[in-house]
């Protein structure tokens, strides 16, 4: 019997959906194994169709995107109810992702910047979106823009995670095949990715590390054979789960951590901070400060994709 599956996007860019499509000819295999009951980007199902389903009707729901607004959360709850297995697809659902960078600000700061201070917007009356609005024909409502971006598992129970921004198409395929082959690992596992850090699959030569200065990628011509970190370029590969095939690294760009932390690491950013600080060269306070001065924007760099999933989750107000 074919599996019944719903695919949905919360606060996402659509890259995860495209990654599913990028499985190319394997898409036919997927179609052979699964019937899709919701997939806004590709198919014309409506929320009402889902609401009408019995609870647990779907075998799996694949949810990409972070929880940015109340609609994202409502649909997450809806899909959870209707599915036996909930899968978080991509960095946003898994960790909060790029939208999670909003957690360094409050909702009001965000809205002010977007609607009031925006250079390209004329908004003399200072209108910002409201959750409900009465027109003469009746009431309209909009999803609430949240104060804090959340990961999927912060609003519903999630069985499995397929990491990445975006996930590697073949990894998605192999993760899905676990479902139809009934080979799913214990609940809570990350599937479609490695068990070690990215360094394992990074082709660059790694040696003992001592860093005396950090540089920015535009300031140097990095040695293509040598570990980025050893060249003073902040690379999160050592703290990030493998599985992406070191795509960034191979394009000459250091890792930013989209595959998230390894098992038992509660906070990728802080752990990376610890690792990097450990291998600095200087011992004197002043010299340490001088080296640290060369790390631009450390926290946002360490938590480029994972702020909502980190221990502290957001900036305190």
């Amino acid at each position: 019997m074919k599996l019944k599956v719903g695919i949905y996007w919360g606060a996402a860019c659509g890259g995860c959906d495209v990654a599913i499509l990028d499985t190319h000819e394997k898409l036919l295999d997927i179609a052979a194994k699964m019937d899709i009951y919701l997939w806004p980007i590709a198919l014309d199902f409506k929320y009402d169709d889902v609401k009408k389903m019995e609870d647990g009707y779907l075998d799996a729901a694949i949810y990409s995107g972070a929880i940015r607004n109340s609609e994202n959360e409502e649909i997450a709850i809806l899909l959870r109810k209707k599915s036996k297995v909930m899968i978080a697809l991509g960095a946003c659902a898994h960790l909060g992702g790029i939208p999670g960078l909003a957690n360094f600000y409050t909702r009001d700061e965000m809205l002010k910047r977007i609607y009031i201070d925006s250079e390209s917007t004329i908004n003399e009356e200072g209108v910002i979106p409201l959750e409900s609005w009465n027109v003469k024909e009746g009431e309209l409502d909009l999803p609430r823009f949240y104060n804090t971006v959340k990961t999927l598992d912060q609003v519903v129970d999630v069985e499995y995670y397929i990491p990445g921004c975006p996930p590697v198409p073949l990894q998605i395929y192999s993760a899905l095949s676990l479902i139809w082959d009934d080979m799913l690992p214990p609940v809570g596992s990350v599937i479609g990715a490695g068990d070690k850090a990215l360094c394992e699959s990074c082709p660059r030569v790694k040696e003992e590390k001592t860093i005396s200065e950090f540089k920015r990628i535009q300031q140097v011509l990095p040695d293509p054979e040598k570990c980025f970190l050893e060249q003073g370029l902040v690379c999160l590969g050592a703290a990030t789960r493998s599985g992406c095939g070191a795509r960034c690294i191979k394009s000459g760009v250091p890792c930013r951590g989209c595959y998230g932390p390894l098992d038992d690491v509660p906070d990728l950013g802080i752990k990376m901070l610890s690792a990097i600080a450990s291998v600095l060269e200087p011992k004197e306070e002043k010299e340490i400060d001088d080296v640290l001065d060369t790390i631009v924007d450390p926290l946002r760099t360490f938590h480029r994709f994972s702020m909502p999933a980190s221990i502290l989750r957001r900036k305190k107000e």
Binding site: N147, K150, D267, L273, A277, K283, L292
Partner: protein, 162 residues
């Protein structure tokens, strides 16, 4: 009632924990706010511990290790210092006053200093007021809650705990 901060201390076994013991042996009384966790070396202190402690309700975290050059394991304290320095830089990004995390070198012979450090740190945190990290995170999300059709509880029930 006056705010009594809850402070977590990570003390290295050889110098600072011993120094704290010495304060005891010498009966030097100091503020009761600090609860110590003994680690073998300040180099063992993972910044994650500190973040975790702040999240779990500590109003301040003290790290104490051997003086530079005195580390029982030669250089663990330098690593602690470097991590501490970098951690302090990011704390404001979390909206946390960097003074809430403090590092001191306390030798095994410095019982008096340990007492002084704890007193001063306690005073400093008293002035800063409570941190309430966990509570404030959930407070900031109070408006973010979807009214569920079913009477199901909002996920992330840690908020209740806090």
């Amino acid at each position: 009632m006056e705010f009594e901060p809850k402070l977590v201390g990570f003390l290295c076994n050889w110098c600072s924990y011993t120094g704290a013991d010495l304060a005891g042996t010498a009966r030097i009384s100091y503020a009761p706010n600090l609860r110590a966790i003994r680690v073998m070396c300040s180099g063992r202190i993972d910044p994650t511990f500190i973040i975790k402690a702040l999240y779990e309700g500590a109003d301040g975290v003290l790290i104490a290790g051997c003086h530079p050059g005195d580390c029982h394991y030669q250089e663990g304290n330098y690593k602690a210092l470097r991590r501490y320095k970098l951690l302090k830089r990011i704390l404001p990004e979390y909206g946390v006053e960097p003074e809430r995390v403090h590092l001191e070198w306390v030798a095994a012979s410095e019982g008096e200093k340990f007492a002084k450090v704890v007193n001063e740190f306690t005073d400093k945190i008293k002035k800063l007021g409570p941190l309430n990290m966990k509570q404030s995170i959930f407070d900031s999300m109070k408006e973010d809650i979807v009214v569920h059709e079913s009477a199901g509880e909002e996920k992330g029930g840690e908020a209740d705990e806090a």
